[in-house]
């Protein structure tokens, strides 16, 4: 029995290491999937906003057709957002879109007939709802990223994360400048 003592210890350690690896591996995968799910939610809402915009622009055009500058700006922001790839790019494009929309709605303030339009009011609600869903999705995405980042940086999980080549994920953060965009208020 004494002869095998060393062997048992080695086997025990190996088992422990393998078990630890599998455990952390699975937990990383779960957290990563969580992030992916939340990110998909953000993308859905960005898409939904992009879909709403042509309607909104058409309605505003019906009352304020001469405000060409803002329409071009919106169109540009929209195509940029639809073409954006990756988190950082999307964050920026999204901020630009928000600021253009804010200006559009500010312009709308000057047209009482437009403001009284039922369709415009409903579109504004839809837009505000989408913005709100987007901010909720952003919050939840960032929470998921936070959980993931904290997990892969802490020991001993960090060792496994290093072996898997995992890196910290980006937050969906809006720069302070972009946050001062006129908010869609009702």
């Amino acid at each position: 029995m004494q002869k095998y003592k060393g062997l048992f210890i080695v086997l025990g350690i190996v088992f422990f290491l393998v078990f630890g690896y599998v455990y952390y591996y699975n937990s990383f995968i779960t957290l990563e999937e969580e992030i992916n799910g939340k990110w998909a939610e953000i993308e859905n809402n960005l898409q939904r906003r992009a879909d709403l915009i042509p309607n909104l622009v058409a309605t505003v055009k019906g009352y304020a057709s001469h405000e060409e500058a803002i329409f071009t700006e919106i169109a540009q922001a929209r195509s940029r957002l639809l073409g954006a790839q990756g988190v950082a790019d999307k964050v920026q494009a999204s901020a630009a879109m928000e600021s253009a929309l804010g200006r559009l709605l500010a312009i709308a303030e000057a047209y009482p007939e437009l403001k009284a339009d039922q369709r415009f009011a409903a579109l504004q609600d839809e837009l505000a709802g989408t913005e709100n869903r987007l901010s909720v999705a952003r919050l939840r995405y960032n929470e998921a990223v936070k959980a993931y980042n904290a997990r892969i940086r802490r020991l001993p999980a960090r060792i496994v994360a290093g072996m898997m080549g995992l890196e910290a994920k980006e937050y969906f953060q809006i720069e302070e400048a972009a946050r001062e965009v006129p908010k869609v208020e009702f």
Partner: protein, 270 residues
């Protein structure tokens, strides 16, 4: 081996480990011993045991009861859980949208798989309204519709100080959107004497004790026989409905089913 032990004793550390352990336990349990003070306005601190929660006193008692029975009826017939929450004002450092989302999630409005909850939040002093819509109802009640209900039904009624008629009309309108076939119980949501309140207390208590007693007895006997208790456990405890009503709940009671929200809905004011 022996020398090591002696050495340890010499260092006077026979008490060290236990003390360390106790200290460790103490810090571990610290949050449990001194829980952080719960804010009165914290959504988790509010008790959602009814479909209507009025902390601002906008509704009279019978109005509140009538509204609750309408909402309970709608829940029972269509499984959609609509809640009305009226508070004096928004707590500091939060936004209307964020707070109403927290409320809806704390109340667990809607069934777990269906996410079919709805929460109407009214802030008396801020004169603000928000309709928070569960993920599963977003298709039926779009943000535009919710906004329209606020603008055309709630806001005008509230401006005339007609709180109950406004809320009821809004709820009926939204119910109709969700399930056009739904017809409120006789008298347009008039309150039927809820059978729950007439439920005799003592017999129910005895019945409950009876069930508990026998289920304990049952478990012990099964234990002795060596059966797994989970497979033979008493039916009452195994089948906890994920939503809806337990056996003895009055029809006025509300229990959240855990529906999901993601920020859909509309905000407004009056």
């Amino acid at each position: 081996m022996k020398r090591l032990f002696v050495k340890k004793n010499l260092a006077g550390s026979s008490l060290f480990l236990p003390v360390l352990f106790i200290l460790f336990l103490f810090f571990l349990l610290l949050p449990a011993i001194f829980p952080p003070p719960a804010c009165a306005q914290d959504p988790a601190a509010l008790r959602f045991d009814d479909y209507v929660l009025d902390q601002a006193g906008l509704l009279r008692v019978e109005e509140k009861r009538e509204l609750a029975s309408l909402l309970a009826d709608f829940d029972q017939k269509t499984t959609n859980q609509f809640l009305v929450v009226i508070l004096p004002s928004l707590p500091p450092a939060t936004s209307l949208e964020l707070y109403s989302l927290e409320l809806a999630e704390a109340a667990k409005a809607g069934r777990a798989g269906k996410d079919n909850g709805l929460l109407l939040l009214i802030l008396r002093d801020d004169r603000k309204i928000r309709i928070e819509i569960g993920t599963g109802l977003e298709e039926k009640i779009t943000d535009g519709r919710a906004g329209r209900v606020i603008r055309e039904i709630l806001a005008p009624a509230f401006q005339r100080d007609e709180y109950y008629p406004g809320i009821k009309a809004a709820m009926l309108n939204l119910m109709n959107r969700v399930d056009p076939s739904y017809a409120p119980a006789a008298g347009g949501g008039g309150f039927p004497e809820s059978d729950g309140q007439n439920l005799p207390f003592l017999p129910v208590l005895i019945l409950v004790l009876f069930v508990v007693f026998f289920s304990l007895l049952d478990q012990r006997r099964l234990y002795r026989r060596g059966y797994s208790q989970t497979t033979f456990g008493p039916v009452v405890f195994r089948h906890r409905p994920s939503g809806g009503f337990g056996g003895f709940r009055s029809s006025g009671g509300f229990r959240g089913g855990g529906g999901g929200f993601r920020g859909g809905g509309a905000s407004g004011g009056w």
